[in-house]
């Protein structure tokens, strides 16, 4: 079931997560939000995938579905060949050994009343049979691996800086030797001068442990640096997916093009007034018909208003657009 380096680690098929909104009265029709809508992802062992999107696109909901912190309303998730879409209880907890999460906010993701080594040890307490003393040692070893000292292992979260807390979070994610680590905006809450430390650390750990990452970020430069493949998400759907270089060098979907054009380039000699696309993100509970991007798309036609485009292969990547030229 779990094979060698090239085997399929994660298979997500047609994943959807539909939330029902609270109605004001039972007489009004039910309104839904498809936070995640028909997502397909394939991730091999050792690969890293970036998930890019702006606020409200559903990337955080997608992460929570994959981790089964939420139960998807449609579709399937297979981890290491095992279907975990509707797993519960002990089966689900065992599946957690293989996939762990690094949170965005280093200040909120650590229980302020626990010491660093206790935080890192918690996954071991929950899911392994290691006796307490051995678990302690493993936790301390992991903290040293991420750049903290044995003395610091006994300290409380408020005694660490943001970057150090994120290191603790990463050490915790590695406690059970997972195959997949999901990181939700792992450095956006950190100071700029500290981000490189954490990104380098993640790269080093990946090389040492053969980890697969799924990194969620709105920062395309970070994705390019850390990931092999990328999926661009707009309003719960993947609009373009493929190898990072293929997509960033020659984006085919108008939204991807807009994202890349909107990023201010840290090179003042290339003065390009970032091209802005008009309009704002539509209300997720009332998405536009047809292609959800058409109200903001410079290439939109009548076809786009009527029919949602299907994903197809083009120039080495998968893109969902009627007008890729």
């Amino acid at each position: 079931m779990s094979g060698g380096k090239d085997s399929m680690l994660l298979e997500v098929d047609n994943l959807s997560m539909r939330f029902t909104l609270r109605r004001r009265s039972p007489f009004q029709p039910k309104r839904h939000v498809h936070a995640v809508n028909g997502i397909n992802i394939r991730l091999r062992q050792g690969e890293t995938l970036g998930i890019v999107g702006e606020s409200g696109c559903g990337k955080t909901t997608l992460a929570r579905c994959i981790l089964r912190l939420l139960e998807p309303t449609d579709g399937s998730i297979k981890l290491n060949g095992r279907d975990i879409t509707h797993a519960k209880g002990a089966t689900l907890r065992q599946a957690r050994r293989d996939m762990q999460f690094v949170f965005q906010d280093p200040y909120a993701s650590l229980d302020p009343r626990m010491r660093a080594y206790e935080l890192v040890r918690e996954p071991l307490d929950a899911l392994s049979d290691l006796p307490r003393a051995e678990a302690d040692e493993r936790a301390i070893a992991l903290l040293e691996k991420v750049g903290l000292t044995r003395a610091q292992a006994k300290q409380y979260p408020h005694q660490f800086s943001g970057g150090q807390r994120q290191r603790i979070g990463i050490a915790r994610a590695l406690a059970l030797n997972p195959k997949l680590v999901l990181a939700d905006e792992p450095v956006s809450a950190l100071d700029v001068s500290v981000r490189a430390q954490i990104l380098n650390l993640m790269a080093d750990l990946r090389a040492e442990f053969g980890l697969s990452y799924i990194v969620i970020s709105h920062d395309l430069a970070i994705i390019e640096h850390v990931c092999d493949r990328v999926a661009i998400i707009y309003l719960g759907r993947i609009v373009e997916q493929g190898e990072v270089e293929t997509i960033f060098n020659a984006p085919k979907h108008p939204y991807t093009q807009a994202l890349l054009a909107a990023i201010p380039d840290p090179d003042p000699t290339e003065r390009r007034r970032a091209a802005d696309i008009q309009g704002d993100l539509p209300n997720p509970s009332a998405p536009p018909p047809g292609c959800t991007f058409h109200p903001r798309c410079p290439k939109a036609t009548a076809l786009c208003r009527q029919q949602a485009p299907e994903p197809r292969q083009l120039d080495g990547r998968e893109v969902s657009c009627h007008h890729t030229d």
């Binding site: 800086s161 700029v192 390019e224 640096h225």
Partner: protein, 327 residues
């Protein structure tokens, strides 16, 4: 004459451990029609600098303890509160990072922008209504009549930020301070708002202080830049120059450590990012000498003892560093 001339500004906060300087002998100038970028991370003092200029430092917790702020021929640090209030919103304005919390959820957008007029004694309702509409059109808000009547939570983040800009421009100020105006916004909306600020700067000949931690924004939108670290300015100069030839080890490290879109070729090996070891100092720590010394690859014994003075190295490009490599 410079529009804004900040000279050796010192702002102190009272902490349980005693007074601490959040802004420590900071000097810079802004001309009309120019965008100055104030770059720094948490604890750099950039936001407190902005608040000090506006006179918004809460006097229960902090105060301006030294230096001067020259604006329109006056020293803002010496002005009585009432006069400062008369200037605020009229000749100098500020916009903040999080428009949702900067706008009162109980009042409509129209009412809040009109408040700027009411605060300065213009109470003609019909005239204000027209002026609010004009402002909303100035900041390119679609359907100004409709937005006027809506509440902050009913419009998007980008529109809220535009509404705040509209409020700040009520009296066509000479100076606009923007404190991380796009940090809370998505990147596509960020571009809209920054382009708007740039356009307004040209049309209205505004002087703008743009505070940010985003190197990309600094590169694309600022004419000159002042880099702040631990309450002091460590380097300042024309943006293109500072980026092309950074002199201070912090600036060098910062520019090198930021991941950039490089348009790699497929299969091209990834390079390791350059790190700056350690972390940003907190306001509570007192350091003698240079605050960056404990993270600096070029630190010498002198650095821990003596604060390096700001010296001009090439035209308009100055830095505060003992290292001879910063020449």
């Amino acid at each position: 004459m410079a529009l804004l001339d900040v000279n050796n500004l010192v702002t102190e906060f009272t902490t349980p451990a005693g007074p601490r300087r959040a802004v420590n002998e900071v000097s810079f100038a802004v001309q009309r029609g120019e965008i100055l970028g104030l770059v720094g991370e948490s604890g750099s003092g950039k936001s407190v600098t902005a608040l000090s200029i506006m006179g918004l430092v809460d006097n229960q917790v902090g105060r301006i303890a030294g230096g001067s702020i020259g604006f329109g021929g006056m020293d803002l640090t010496k002005l009585p509160a009432a006069e400062l209030r008369a200037l605020r919103g009229k000749r100098l304005s500020m916009i903040f990072q999080e428009p949702l919390s900067a706008l009162n959820p109980c009042y409509t957008i129209g009412d809040q922008i009109a408040e700027a007029f009411l605060a300065h004694g213009d109470t003609d309702k019909r005239k204000n209504h027209q002026r609010v509409l004009d402002l909303l059109r100035l900041v390119h808000i679609p359907d100004p009549e409709g937005v006027l009547r809506r509440y902050p939570h009913e419009i998007s983040g980008g529109m809220r930020q535009r509404a705040m800009i509209a409020m700040a421009l009520a009296y066509t100020p000479e100076l606009l301070i923007a404190d991380e105006p796009t940090t809370a916004l998505d990147v596509t909306i960020q571009a809209q708002v920054l382009n708007l600020i740039d356009r307004l700067r040209r049309e209205l000949s505004l002087g703008v202080v743009l505070i940010t931690h985003d190197i990309g924004i600094v590169a694309q939108y600022t004419d000159r830049v002042a880099v702040m670290y631990g309450g002091r300015i460590v380097e300042t100069g024309p943006t293109a120059e500072v980026f092309a030839a950074p002199k201070h080890p912090y600036t060098i490290g910062l520019l090198a450590s930021v991941p950039r879109l490089r348009h790699r070729k497929p299969g091209e090996k990834r390079t390791r990012l350059q790190e700056i070891p350690g972390s940003v100092p907190s306001i509570a720590e007192i350091t003698q000498g240079c605050r960056f010394a404990n993270r600096c690859a070029h630190s010498m014994p002198q650095c821990a003892q003596q604060v390096p003075p700001m010296r001009e190295r090439t035209a308009g490009h100055a830095t505060a560093c003992h290292w001879e490599g910063a020449a």
